[in-house]
């Protein structure tokens, strides 16, 4: 796990602010295409044998982290020892943490174990999540025109909306998500009541992902200045496991019911927010599909949308320890055990809302990817250039060029981010698709001159255009498969070869391996003006040389 060196007083302060949440270690990267292909945001490029992330396009979903077999993708979270930088460290752990220690470990035990690690205050985030459901519900009831309200809990989804669906930004419920609310309550209320110096209070979110590490590209910086760092499940898991050993359950920190325990699992919020027509969606592509529908003016009946970038919601976060199916099983068990009835006092939540305790400090701002050009005429010209280049690309989406697909590669080329020669298929070879128009034609004479071939017969046809090549010694195969204008590389030197060349309108016949044409072949070739050339190379070598010429 990689860490930044951020200073006390906020994860965004000091050096930390300039560091991306996700990054790729060039030493460990093998330059393969796995992360490139896994990235739904198309935010990765492999250049010079090393993958790197485009920070403007990345939403911190973690799919590259999941895909990399070489551990080269790093999620930036806060080192655990940073809690020692504050006199009063406070833990605000995602309720997903309750699913990581099997059926028998209760949320209360996990909260007590956190206390044992040295946190002076351990928030029951399950409880704060239940409170959040009520706050979202109240907001929706007070704003019937908002259709749908979108849960602000997943920061990766918010980034996705700000970047690709800015028109939906106004649908994001302006209610502080539980982790931020926790920080605000601790710093604005608890610190005072305890007589703590607010500068010595460090609130740490314990998270199954790095998406909550807000950075310079975040459109909604809700977490600051309330959350001082994000500890990953993976890092705190070992210490917590130890703290659970021989734990004395002498007091109760847990207030939440099953509703809070399951809140961050996909469907947890949709079940808890009691309005008509809720929908929960999880996984990058699925979320995009739903947002596309919303932006097209569909799903008009919907009142509340819960969207998670990770499959199964936070249970499927990239930095969880437990397998997410098993975590779901544990969560469902605990839900039954603690019941789904929330005991949150609605009047109190309404009071908090009236006091502005749930209010955002700043508005969400759209941060769309820039258009092809700020000038629309130029953008149109560039799009046409992209279209025409895309038509020349093979469309096999191999990723060898280092861009995720042919369309994106064409964009990269036209926008000056990649050279066209990075594609192994375009221009250099005929490729699976026709060669681009306007390309210089190659004649049989060009081949003779450049490759030093001997003209054995049919010099009258040296001006023919060569459009490709074909290698075969079976005449019926050539009849079936050779293309018009191809040069035919063969060891067959008899006269029927010329007949086939005429019928298929081939550019020339090249006898390979130093073979010479039969007498009848020469006569027929002269008659038909079909060039018959002789090459000392074998077919494999000659084909390579022809490719090198651009055929």
């Amino acid at each position: 796990m990689a860490h930044d060196n951020h200073q006390r007083g906020g994860q965004g302060n000091g050096n930390g602010q300039d560091l991306p949440t996700m990054w790729i270690d060039p030493q460990a990267c093998q330059g393969c295409v796995l992360c490139l292909k896994a990235c739904s945001a198309k935010a990765i490029r492999v250049r010079g044998g090393v993958a790197h992330i485009l920070p403007q396009a990345c939403v911190n979903c973690g799919d590259c982290f999941r895909a990399c077999p070489h551990m080269a993708v790093r999620c930036r979270t806060t080192p655990l020892e940073h809690m020692r930088r504050f006199q009063h460290p406070v833990a605000a752990a995602s309720p997903t943490l309750f699913s990581q220690f099997g059926y028998r470990t209760t949320p209360n035990q996990i909260l007590l174990a956190l206390e044992r690690l040295g946190f002076q205050q351990v928030m029951d985030m399950g409880w704060l999540c239940e409170m959040n459901s009520v706050a979202m519900e109240e907001y929706l009831l007070a704003h019937p025109e908002l259709r749908p309200g979108i849960s602000p809990s997943c920061p990766a989804v918010i980034r996705l909306i700000a970047g690709r669906f800015p028109s939906l930004l106004g649908n994001v419920l302006p209610i502080l998500p539980p982790r931020v609310f926790a920080g605000k309550v601790v710093k604005e209320r608890l610190a005072q009541s305890q007589g703590w110096d607010p500068r010595e209070v460090g609130v740490f979110h314990i998270a199954p992902c790095a998406a909550k590490m807000v950075g310079p590209h975040d459109p909604v910086v809700l977490d600051q200045p309330y959350v001082d760092g994000v500890f990953s499940f993976r890092e705190i898991y070992g210490p917590l496991l130890q703290a659970l050993q021989g734990l004395e359950e002498d007091h109760t920190l847990q207030k939440c019911s099953g509703a809070g325990i399951a809140w961050a699992m996909s469907g947890g919020q949709a079940a808890a927010v009691d309005v008509e027509h809720t929908l929960d969606v999880a996984g990058f592509d699925e979320v995009v599909r739903i947002l596309e529908m919303l932006e097209a003016g569909r799903l008009r009946d919907l009142r509340f949308l819960e969207a998670h970038i990770c499959p199964d919601g936070c249970l499927g976060g990239p930095l969880v320890v437990e397998n997410h199916y098993r975590a779901k099983s544990v969560t469902l068990r605990q839900m039954r055990r603690f019941g789904a009835m929330s005991r949150v006092n609605r009047a109190k939540i309404k009071q908090f809302m009236a006091e502005g305790l749930y209010d955002w400090r700043q508005e969400a701002r759209p941060c769309p990817l820039p258009p092809l050009d700020p000038d629309t005429s130029q953008a149109i010209a560039k799009m046409k250039a992209i279209q025409s280049l895309t038509a020349r690309l093979p469309g096999i989406e191999c990723g060898v060029c280092g861009s995720p697909d042919c369309q994106t590669f064409a964009e990269d080329v036209i926008l000056g981010r990649a050279g066209e020669d990075l594609c192994p298929f375009t221009l250099q070879r005929g490729g699976p698709h026709p060669a681009p128009a306007g390309r210089q034609t190659v004649t049989v004479k060009d081949l003779v001159d450049k490759l030093g071939l001997e003209v054995a017969a049919g010099a009258g046809g040296l001006g023919r255009e060569v459009k490709g090549g074909y290698i075969s010694d079976l005449l019926s195969d050539v009849m079936a498969n050779a293309q018009t204008g191809a040069v035919w590389l063969t060891i067959q030197a008899h006269q029927n070869v010329v007949a086939v060349a005429v019928l298929k309108e081939l550019a020339a016949v090249i006898l390979v391996g130093g073979r010479a044409p039969a007498e009848e072949t020469v006569a027929k070739a002269e008659q038909e003006a079909v060039p018959v050339l002789a090459a000392p190379d074998d077919a494999f070598t000659l084909a390579g040389r022809l490719h090198a010429l651009g055929l």
Partner: protein, 150 residues
């Protein structure tokens, strides 16, 4: 339908065409999404994207449901977006009637899926700055939707 407005900055030029399959409810909406993303890349304002997306979606659904398949062509100028949607359907016998909100010829199956509210053409009109409809029984229908960024 309405008085011809000349788009500022010249006639829109053809950019791309998309096929729309008849009866393809599963793939329905994909063309509108592609059109919207195209306009987004060209840097048109969110308001233009929203109107174009809605007009394109309604028109696409009409082609899927009634039009027997067809295509959508996108024409672009710096200050104009033009969508031309043509189908091979039966045409619209009474256009004035079809433009009325709530009037629909949707089948029960279509209504089951949430279509057929009789909002399609009115919605297209509401979201376009200029709408031209060419149709005749047996001749198919051609919609020309013009949106002028403000």
């Amino acid at each position: 339908m309405s008085a011809g407005l000349a788009p500022e900055g010249g006639e829109p030029e053809f950019l791309r065409a998309f096929d729309i399959q008849a009866g393809d409810f599963a793939g329905a909406g994909n063309v509108s999404i592609a059109v919207k993303n195209l306009l987004k890349e060209l840097g048109f304002a969110p308001e233009v994207l929203r109107r174009a997306a809605i007009a394109a979606f309604e028109a696409e659904m009409n082609v899927v449901m009634y039009g027997g398949g067809g295509h959508m062509e996108v024409f672009i100028a710096p200050r104009a977006v033009r969508l031309v949607i043509s189908d091979h359907g039966p045409g619209i016998p009474d256009l004035d009637l079809a433009m009325q909100e709530g009037w629909s010829t949707a089948t029960p199956e279509m209504r089951e899926m949430g279509f057929g509210a009789g909002m399609g053409l009115p919605n297209i009109k509401r979201n376009s700055d200029q709408l031209r409809i060419t149709t005749a029984p047996g001749q198919g229908t051609r919609l020309q939707v013009d949106i002028f960024p403000r």
